[in-house]
């Protein structure tokens, strides 16, 4: 059966959509033998990420088991996670 989403590392707080996912979908996300069901509060395009847990403002967004940026606002479980609510911490000459 085709999976709808993939979790790369057990430490991750986001999963990636493997197909177009719709608001209201309940998406099972499995890693090894565990599986959690995430209710989506927004449409998630193919290849995009959604939150597996609530992520507080300033908290790291984790993918591949590593921080890929910090949340610029609170992100709820099931929300789309992307450039509108995550900020890169690398190459920020403006912040030095």
């Amino acid at each position: 059966m085709q999976e709808k989403a993939i979790l790369i590392d057990e430490k991750d707080n986001v999963a990636t959509a493997l197909c177009q996912l719709e608001k209201g979908d309940s998406v099972p996300v499995g890693v090894e033998d565990r599986s959690v069901s995430i209710a989506l509060s927004q449409d998630i395009p193919f290849g995009h990420k959604f939150a597996l847990t609530d992520i507080q403002q300033g908290e790291a967004v984790i993918k591949y088991g590593e921080a890929i940026g910090l949340a610029t606002k609170q992100i709820r479980q099931g929300e789309h996670v992307h450039v509108h609510n995550v900020e890169s911490q690398k190459g920020r000459g403006d912040k030095r």
Binding site: Y64, E66, V81, Q89, K90
Partner: protein
Amino acid sequence: MKFVGYRRSNGKVGIRNHVLIFPTIVCAAEVARMISNEVPGTVYAIHGCGCGHVGEDKEQVIRTMVGFVGHPNVAGVLLVGNGCELITPEVIAGELAKVGQRMETISVQEAGGTTGCVTEGKRLAERLLTEASDVDRESVDVSELILGLECGGSDAFSGLTANPALGIASDLLIAEGGSAIFSETTEMLGTEQVLAKRAANAEVEKRIYEIIAAAEGKAKSMGVDIRGSQPSPGNIAGGLTSIEEKSLGCIRKGGSTTIMQVVKYAEQPTKKGLTIMDGTALDVMNNIGLLASGAQIIVFTTGRGTPVGTPIAPVIKVSSNSVTYNKMKDNIDINAGVIVDGQGSLRTVGEQIFNEIVEVASGKLTKAEILGHREFDIHSLGPVL
């Protein structure tokens, strides 16, 4: 675990048994090709280097040529020069003698022009081929394998399927005592801390930061800020949020083991395990650098698809998605897209890649080899003066 390979007199192990016709200067390139065409069963490599190199560039071009033609996948090499170049066959031969490579040299000027050189070169190539054909494969431990890791034409799936599956294969080989080299420094921007955490010691950690900073510095010196366009609008539309995320996908092919060493382009590691080669983003140049660094085999992940091979070493292609695999089946050996299709997991595809590495090392041909892909290029630093 064992495979069957060619044990060379210097102790190194090859997985192919090529006779290579190699021009040390672009001016002898066509003559080298003509000689190779006259002797089926030989391979050749064409490039644009050999004269006008100075300083670090000269060192890098010579290091690449020596590593490539002295490679254990090469049973014997005919070095073809013109006669007045900076990097003559004798320059390379002097270095090769140290590694005990079987070689012959010839130059166009001394052999009396194209026809004379092709005639004499043909005789030498035939002799090398006769000798090479007498070498047998023998049982060798997989710990003798050095795997080159490469990716190109990446897409949204690369960091999810093909690269992490290759990382698992790399971990499996290293667990067996083998080695792997990963590269493409440009695609490590933003992952410095992640890679540094895996460094074997403080020196390796320092070098990781240095090479990534230098790659960034080069882009800036050209008036280009790589990170201003990374991730690209296309990447963002595809769901990549930050440069960290994109680079993290790229470095997944390096697996999870300790980074033992950082080497220059085409420099050979002295330690087993995982090495970073400070390479370029251009796949063909980077492939040749990986071979010159000692890799006998390359696994190349691709999202969009790519046909390239190398003249002397097999390249196993792994597609990140099934659309590309189905479109380019003639070119691609393994489809990691099955992970997305629910037909496999990272673990099963990782094991499949590892098993394919061992089989290809023992003689199974890759699609790139069957199609005759022999792309070659040297990462010259320039300027050519």
